[in-house]
């Protein structure tokens, strides 16, 4: 994998040493438990002013009046930024030059295209004055009727879904296979709009110094943010310095620079002072992306023994009126179940909403709950146990492509998960299990899956004469544990103890670490680190093995092993030399290496690469009130090499709780008349609280994947939500006999008697 090294000239060395795989506690833990970790909004440069956005209270129309005078007259208010009074941009915010560029609302005109769209920014000497000034703007609108929801308008087939995927893919002849099938099942599932709601609202502290811009803002993609801002402001990317050492959660909402973050920079430019702009919670329900609603129809053909012959997964979704993001919900059906004929198709409508975007497992989460529900229905139609049904249709190769899997330990996930859960004691019939208090008990399951992706990244490694090392890459820690896991990889790559390894990340002046998304950050940044370490160790080894004064002289092709700050001859470990001695003899203070990572097209061509898992859920339902509680979840996941089990478990738990939330808690409720979200706050937009999550178990199933990347890492950030949501929903059916096909499942859905 390390193209920079040729084995014939440079001795190889062994890595995957003593740091990878250790359940270390978070290296940033002390900062985070003492309040010393600095998030964007915690910054306070000298002379800083406060900016507060005014956002639209209508979903469609025009702003016809703003009382700028009243706001400006308010004590403490310094300026009011409006479409008529703002710094010029170098680029139209509605221009789009690549698929990762999304249109932004930067006060370019008086149009309102969704509720909570920014319409002005008030800058003041105190947060209170800015807030009061924004309220004084008292906007008046010319309002047009809002187009709302999945039936807002005529639908169409998008040119592409997700990022550049085809809207429709077919293998085999689904219609013919359905016509011939012994049993057919058709079910329509609806999923609601959901909002990321990271606990940290989007925030920015921006300061200009001439043509140089310095900003603190949470970012899951520093280099992309730098490029985007450079384009908007017409300055060189290297003139933009972004600090994002800690994100207070991202979940996809901080992957791309959002409009409000750019407004903070514009405000700073307008007033010529540093400015802090922090979103109010309700302002996060519009301009920073969300998961769009879907209506998915599953059509399955199968025989009496439960063998699938046809699978059609159709998904309808919603995008904004002015940009294209189409949730690829049906594509989950490409990989999981071995139907000989598979069709996935998408259609979409446009509505007056902020553009939806990537939200933790975009497509996979929405698609999974529908697919797993339909599979559960089919299993019951055959009188089969849902696990037996899934095993009957186990995909030995990727169904849509026919490619072999690079690795797939799903059978083991099913087996160990089922055993830990006690699945074999489940009744096939629903509404047959009760606990000692008379609650209905239901057990359900779902299969988890997420693609093993890789992006591009770079890293720089340094070994110093004092025996320490540095690894640099602009990686992002949004809670997944990059500060720890990547440092572990770095230490092993350098052949150093962790406490001799300085790991630098989180700022835009470091090598590009790619984007923290697609569950690919550890693999991507990790491989760049791994290769940078290999490069610098190889350079060091070349110094030693070519020097007759070194005990390693002439190690040649036998190679050396880098361990604990020393190089050892592979064929005679007693012959070794410390890094510092090698550098000292060469008269060098330090030595540098570089590494990069990228997906390997030939591997992608040959293999289907995915992480897998199985989730088993228990719910209890009050038979009189219909109240549901998810009482127990067991997940078993196979996701390649685990770098830090403590942090990986937290990722699995987090994903599983998002699954519970998908099935039972969260949704944005849209007012059909106004196009406004009725529950744009954390009291009414329900996410699980501690009491909603009694018992979780996540098993890490051994999996060695020689193909995904040299480290064998797949990714764990998103897979937990897939499978879990369906498992909980299926458990609700098993408890009650009521099949609810829209989410979240509420007690009102369960107060009807079991369907006949």
């Amino acid at each position: 994998m390390t193209s920079e090294i040729s084995l014939s000239t440079v001795p190889a060395h062994t890595r995957h040493g003593s740091n990878i795989g250790q359940p270390l506690t978070r290296r940033d833990g002390v900062l985070k438990v003492t309040g010393a970790a600095t998030y964007a909004a915690d910054n306070h440069p000298e002379g800083m002013l406060f900016a507060v956005m005014a956002t639209s209270s209508i979903a469609r129309g025009r702003v016809v009046a703003l009382d700028v005078d009243a706001a400006k007259a308010h004590p403490g208010v310094v300026d009011v930024m409006t479409p008529a009074h703002k710094p010029e941009l170098a680029m139209d915010p509605d221009a789009k030059t690549n698929p990762f560029m999304f249109r932004l609302d930067l006060l370019q005109n008086d149009l309102v295209r969704y509720a909570h769209q920014p319409i002005a920014v008030v800058v003041a000497r105190s947060l209170e004055a800015a807030t009061e000034g924004a309220a004084l703007l008292a906007p008046r609108y010319e309002e047009e009727p809002a187009r709302v929801g999945l039936d807002a308008d005529e639908s169409f087939e998008p040119a592409a879904i997700g990022i550049g995927s085809p809207a429709r893919i077919e293998r085999g002849d689904v219609e013919a296979a359905l016509a011939r099938a012994e049993h057919r099942l058709e079910a329509t599932y609806e999923t609601p709009a959901q909002y990321h709601n990271a606990m940290e609202p989007h925030a920015i502290v921006a300061a200009w110094d001439g043509d140089t811009l310095s900003i603190d803002t949470p970012s899951q993609g520093l280099a992309m943010a730098q490029g985007r801002l450079a384009g908007l402001f017409g300055i060189a990317p290297e003139n933009i310095h972004i600090r994002s050492p800690f994100l207070g959660g991202g979940f996809g909402s901080k992957g791309l620079v959002s409009g409000p973050q750019v407004l903070g920079i514009m405000a700073a430019k307008l007033v010529g002072r540093p400015v802090k702009l922090v979103l109010r919670r309700d302002q996060m329900y519009g301009p920073v992306g969300h998961r769009p609603p879907t209506r998915q129809t599953l059509r399955l053909g199968f025989d009496g023994e439960g063998k699938l012959s046809a699978l059609h997964h159709h998904a309808k979704t919603v995008s904004s009126t002015f940009d294209d993001f189409f949730e690829p919900a049906a594509d989950i059906s490409h990989t999981l179940y071995a139907a000989p004929a598979i069709l996935t198709s998408h259609e979409a409508v446009r509505a007056d909403i902020g553009t939806p975007l990537f939200m933790r497992a975009p497509g996979e989460a929405t698609g999974s709950i529908a697919l797993e529900g339909a599979i559960d229905e089919a299993a019951f139609a055959c009188g089969m146990d849902p696990l037996a049904f899934r095993l009957k249709n186990y995909a030995e190769v990727e169904p849509i492509s026919g490619k072999p899997f690079s690795s797939k330990a799903l059978r083991e996930c099913y087996r160990q998960g089922a055993e830990r859960f006690g699945w074999s004691r489940r009744t096939i019939e629903p509404r047959k299990m009760r606990d000692e208090n008379g609650y209905l008990v239901g057990w359900g399951m779902g299969t988890a899956t997420f693609p093993a992706l890789m992006f591009q990244a770079e890293a720089r490694a340094v070994l110093r004469r004092d025996g320490s090392g540095v690894m640099e890459t602009g990686a992002h820690d949004m809670g997944q544990g990059a500060w720890t896991a990547l440092a572990q990889i770095a230490a092993d790559a350098l052949g150093l103890d962790l406490d001799r390894t300085e790991f630098r990340a989180g700022t835009s002046d470091l090598p590009d670490a790619g984007i923290a998304g697609g569950s690919a950050h550890t693999a991507t940044a990790g491989m760049a680190i791994h290769n940078a370490g290999a490069d610098v160790v190889a350079k060091l080894a070349a110094l030693a093995t070519g020097d007759e004064r070194s005990p390693l002289f002439g190690a040649g092709n036998a190679g050396v092993v880098a361990r604990e700050g020393r190089l050892h001859r592979r064929d005679d470990e007693s012959r070794s030399e410390g890094y510092g001695d090698i550098l000292a003899r060469a008269g060098l203070a330090q030595i540098e290496g570089k590494g990069s990572a990228a997906p390997d097209p030939s591997v992608q061509e040959t293999y289907a690469m995915h992480a897998h898992g199985a989730v088993f859920a228990e719910v209890k339902v009050d038979p009189d009130l219909g109240q549901v509680r998810a009482t127990r979840l067991v997940g078993a996941f196979a996701a390649g090499r685990v770098i830090n089990p403590r942090m990986v478990r937290s990722q699995f738990y987090g994903g599983m709780i998002w699954g519970i939330s998908f099935a039972l808690h969260e949704h944005a409720v849209m007012d059909r008349r106004s196009g406004r979200i009725l529950n744009a706050d954390l009291a009414e937009y329900h996410i699980p609280v501690n009491a909603d999550v009694p018992s979780l178990d996540a098993l890490m199933i051994e999996e060695h994947d020689p193909h995904v990347n040299a480290l064998g890492i797949k990714g764990v950030g998103e897979i937990g939500i897939t499978g879990s949501a369906g498992a909980v929903a299926n458990a609700v059916w098993h408890a009650t006999g009521v099949r609810v096909r829209h989410f979240p499942i509420g007690l009102d859905d369960l107060l009807v008697p079991a369907a006949a």
Binding site: G29, Y39, D42
Partner: protein, 170 residues
């Protein structure tokens, strides 16, 4: 018109002039006293990120007006570790990985210290979950949080009494 108040924050007396009666205790701490450890997640009492102890009791500081806390004794996350030693609740949060992004963590820890002082949970995980349910965690570190609170509570009880507030540097 300005308003003068004085309060004790983490043991230090602070005299504050406020130019605006609407300043919340949270914004006073964050924007005027530069104690940014306490976080703002919603600004309306719905998330618990801003939890601090006022006269030993946990409150949402975003819902409290600074002006109405003249004379109060405030403890924030910055005042929990003493003499370079982490508080047992802080140690337990690290040990049980009761945090991911860490943004809710200061609030969780202050809430946990408050909860332990309230002495109502009896080491029962269900009561801990209930008592910690005013503090949202979108990363969903709840399993670790519950374990950490139970663990810290036990250690504090063993160390003598439920005075969770302090741990001797010895």
């Amino acid at each position: 018109m300005t308003f003068s108040i004085s309060l004790t924050v983490n043991g230090v007396r602070r005299d504050v002039e406020l130019d605006n009666p609407r300043v919340t205790l949270l914004d006073l701490l964050r924007e005027r006293l530069q104690l940014t450890g306490t976080k703002k997640g919603c600004d309306r009492g719905q998330c618990g990120a801003c939890t601090v102890l006022v006269d030993g009791r946990r409150i949402n500081s975003c819902l409290a007006l600074a002006l109405s806390h003249d004379g109060a004794d405030i403890r924030t996350i910055e005042g929990v570790a003493e003499g370079g030693h982490l508080h047992p609740v802080q140690e337990a949060f690290i040990a049980h990985d009761a945090l991911q992004c860490g943004f809710c963590t200061p609030g969780q820890i202050m809430s946990a210290i408050g909860l332990i002082q309230e002495g109502q949970t009896d080491g029962d995980p269900e009561r801990v979950r209930e008592g910690m349910s005013g503090n949202l965690c979108r990363c969903s570190a709840y399993a670790g949080i519950t374990e950490a609170v139970l663990d810290a509570q036990k250690k504090l009880a063993e160390a003598g009494g439920t005075d969770a507030g302090r741990r001797d540097a010895a």
